[in-house]
Symmetry: C2
Subunit: 222 residues, 2 copies
């Protein structure tokens, strides 16, 4: 005990930051494993998920405890419950890194269909969106949160390009590529799903900040 | 105002129940649209999502308000924050119905690859898992929640069967089927993702019930 409420809120910030770094790293490593057809790294990503799951539970429990002990007012309460939601989103993002790791293990023994360019590019967008969305939460920065939302259409477009190419230039032209092409197509969709999770985070941040603005300065609504 | 806390908790129950019914219905209708190649129904599912999104926000806001006004003790607090999480899961499930609707619109003008049997079966499993998980929350029923978790491997297996068939019997044998087969494969994966959301709900329920058991009867841990 003994810690001040403000200090505990700062701790929560750090926990979310840590969850964000873990999630981002898991994505990075899953795509490195795919690029380098590195079975061990893919397996590592899958194994490491346990510790992210554990951290999620710890953070969630801390939040509940914080609410129960301090019975915070509207603004802080909203910050904590938003933290709980973001915590859950980050855990889901890490789960998707596991999905990518599993798809990678399916094709790691076969030659790559083609040099991977767009998939790593999409992964970079996803990682960047994770970073920005967490930053937006910690700073309560609506402008940054809106930047995350704006990035999502670029991710959607790139995923469409990847999907179209895999279907039209590979599966349809040479059906023997289908099993590998399907795995790459799924990985592209997983990455897009990560971007969707970051837009959930950004929306939560906007909602958190705006609700406070509206509550404290109702004139700003007009 | 004027409502008692217990009454408001019952309201929350009803809201979650309603979100569950909406989510389940959206899934059902998206698969009906696919089966009957019904463009209007697919579009309907997509359009209806807005009202589910709105209900999610209302329920979320109610939960925050409930916590802020009543500053509930551990058990009730956990029930409310679990409700918030389940509310978010149900909104995601409805989003997936939109994904299915969109995939359906992509192939609705082409003849079906084959009579759909396994995909509707998987959809039924998913709907059933939604129902059970919500029921488990409302009754605080751990046994039922564990039944949801146990159902998930059946869903995974069925999705594997569907995916294998689409790749090996369609895409590889006749590459012109690839564009349609990919859409069906994605729909099967969407349905599996819904099942995953229901297992998140079930895990939240187990966690909610057990934390209380542990807090109030620590001897049960031994």
């Amino acid at each position: 005990m003994g810690k001040h409420f403000d200090e505990e809120l700062r701790d929560l910030n750090n926990d979310i930051l840590k969850m964000g770094v873990f999630a981002e790293e898991a994505i990075y490593r899953s795509i490195e494993a795919l690029k380098n057809r590195d079975k061990n790294m893919a397996q590592d990503v899958i194994n490491n998920d346990r510790s992210i799951d554990e951290l999620e539970l710890i953070v969630d429990e801390k939040c509940l405890d914080l609410i129960a002990r301090h019975q915070p007012m509207a603004g802080d309460l909203r910050f904590i419950t938003t933290g709980m939601k973001i915590n859950a989103e980050l855990e889901r993002i890490a789960d998707i890194a596991v999905d990518i790791g599993q798809r990678t293990l399916e094709i790691v023994d076969k030659p790559l269909l083609k040099p991977l360019i767009d998939i790593p590019k999409l992964a970079e967008i996803a990682q960047n969106m994770i970073k920005m969305s967490i930053d937006a939460f910690i700073k309560g920065d609506i402008v940054l949160a809106k930047k995350v939302l704006a990035s999502d259409s670029g991710a959607d477009q790139l995923r469409n390009v990847i999907q179209k190419e895999l279907i039209e230039d590979y599966m349809v032209k040479d059906s023997t590529t289908a099993p590998r092409a399907v795995q790459l197509l799924l990985i592209a969709r997983f990455l897009e799903r990560i971007c969707d999770h970051t837009t959930n985070i950004a929306e939560d941040v906007i909602y958190m900040v705006q609700a406070e603005v509206v509550k404290h300065h109702p004139e700003k609504l007009k």
